[in-house]
Symmetry: C2
Subunit: 356 residues, 2 copies
């Protein structure tokens, strides 16, 4: 922390790369032992160098949510050669970019409706290689996805018959703890699709909160965790990890101590974000269980305590945010350090703000 105080202004997002490495290895080892593949979601870090660590550890490719994120990661690392975009790609501009990207890497995408399949097919009909298209299935999260195995089978048939496309398998973003639902839905959909004479090359699920139970849905062939590289307060509160596993923290400075039991830090919603994720308060101050961050405005974080905080202007604190992924999207740079390189070095968050 002394080094940080000398070299970094605040607020800054700092990353313990030793913890990143340990977090990556732990899940890869579990996946290897359980017999499924890992395809990490890059939304958490948006950094080619962390992607490279994930691929080196054994990941088979990456997951992105948007075409523009995938473009940034492909441009940022030659090791990125296999990308799954887990999003319905809609509209001429995005489809044109998708075609260009598919000429560079092994690309897969998802669809949950005939409309989306028609758009993909029209864009790829003239391409030399067909686009692997997976059916997104709603296994209980109530977001996107077809709602029943029969619907998945019908859309798989449509994809298989569509010019420019090839059926790529099944994808879901499961509800937390939804392994049984995933297993049931995917097993039934797979059987229906295979009865149609198609093969289901990939069944992909994801989500860090219950990733260490992924093997309870053995029909799944690959898993797409995101937050596991950094961890965050939401995962600690759900029992998925401890504070010592949290690689991403926000370094902040106390700028005001207007009362004994209240202090203001220079990290507000522009850094920590307003994501509550079902929790109370906006982050955990490491080493200070007595403090609650009870209110954020854009540049102010208000900390309150039941007794005197003992803080003074200029004190530095490290905060584990509620949700790591959204924090990295707020900043142009994060600062990486490790036991070997204790002085933080800047890394540009190349896929930050890629909303297209």
């Amino acid at each position: 922390m002394e080094t940080f105080a000398e070299s970094l202004d605040t607020p800054s997002v700092v990353i313990d790369m030793d913890l990143v490495r340990a977090n990556i290895r732990r899940f890869q080892a579990y996946a290897d032992a359980s017999g499924f593949k890992v395809r990490p979601h890059i939304k958490t870090h948006k950094l080619p160098l962390v992607t490279d660590m994930q691929l080196a550890a054994g990941a088979i490719g990456i997951t992105c949510q948007k075409v523009s994120e995938a473009e940034a990661m492909v441009a940022g690392s030659p090791a990125v050669t296999d990308v799954l975009i887990t999003y319905n790609i809609v509209g001429a501009k995005k489809l044109a970019r998708l075609v260009a990207l598919a000429r560079k890497v092994r690309l897969s995408v998802v669809a949950d409706s005939a409309d989306v399949v028609d758009g993909l097919s029209a864009a790829f009909a003239g391409e030399a290689s067909p686009l692997a298209t997976l059916v997104e299935c709603d296994t209980g999260a109530n977001r996107c996805g077809v709602g029943a195995p029969e619907d998945a089978a019908a859309l798989a048939r449509k994809i298989a018959a569509a010019p420019g496309l090839v059926f790529g398998g099944l994808m879901t973003y499961p509800p937390a703890g939804g392994e049984a639902a995933v297993q049931a839905f995917m097993s039934e959909a797979k059987a229906l699709i295979e009865a149609d004479g198609l093969t289901v090359p990939v069944i992909t699920s994801g989500g860090t909160p219950t990733m260490m139970r992924a093997a309870e849905a053995p029909v799944v062939t690959e898993y797409r965790p995101g937050t596991y590289v950094y961890n965050d307060r939401s995962l600690v509160m759900r029992g998925a990890c401890g504070w010592d596993d949290c690689a991403l923290t926000v370094l902040a400075t106390v700028v005001s101590v207007p009362a004994d039991d209240r202090a203001i830090i220079d990290a507000g919603s522009k850094t920590l974000t307003s994501d509550l994720f079902g929790l109370t308060g906006y982050g955990h101050v490491l080493g200070r269980d007595d403090l609650a961050i009870d209110q954020l405005s854009e540049e102010h974080g208000r900390m309150v305590s039941t007794g005197p905080t003992g803080l003074k202007v200029g004190d530095r604190l490290r905060i584990v945010p509620n949700h790591a992924c959204v924090v990295t999207n707020m900043v142009d740079e994060v600062y990486l350090y490790s036991a070997e390189e204790p002085t933080p070095r800047a890394a540009q968050v190349v896929a930050r703000g890629r909303i297209w």
Copy 2:
């Protein structure tokens, strides 16, 4: 909207510049009639060209929260010659930047403690011109600020005696509807400070929600509204404006219609943000009072209705976000249009992500 559909991808943040102009004029006219000055907070737009409109309409300068924001605005517009930073500036790196900035423009800053004053004084003691330093007062918002008029007077004396500084007046970020509290606190503090033989050149208050009642605290000499240029759902819900006054909207595309009463748009928390601002839901879909945006993930906005939505994949919608300021901080570019220039043109959000 047809033009938008042709020229813009989604999600995009679009700004109706005719409404921006009308919003600026309305508040400036009220201020002129009431006899106080306007010093807009640039955090809402972070755009030099909107600053120029505010200054041309009669604003006396700008308000920034961070030194880095001020640097971006000064670099972006030669018209920016008078800046108030309403934040305790703490730490050697920020103080060095503050000194450099003070050599370029007429700069004022705030302090709410002896520690902050000592830091400013040490940084400016060798400068040719003293730094105007205002005392930040807590008139009920319970964030930063001295808590009593006597404390304001004591800190004013300290500033006046500090090498490199000159006492610049009083500043507050009031609680919503706190005009009476502002009037009482500031009147008493002013009398105490004047009794010490000091003058109080500026008393500055701010906040869009009750800005049209600013004249109810006549001791205030200048006001610092931010959100008024764009307006947003929080202001509509508080009765401060109507939907027709909302200049900033998020253009989004329906990407999934998994059920009759549910549809998913491509604007999630990476565009709309998780700011609830005391409201239920994450924005208002223009022209669709029946829809509620009940859940956001990073790239998905879930809309629900009590009946069939009638939406289909590819439909475009415009959303008034809960909080305009935080939305502009999410995007590298916004798109400006007007009756004269109906085709949106990109404007870089130059002060986006400036957290230092």
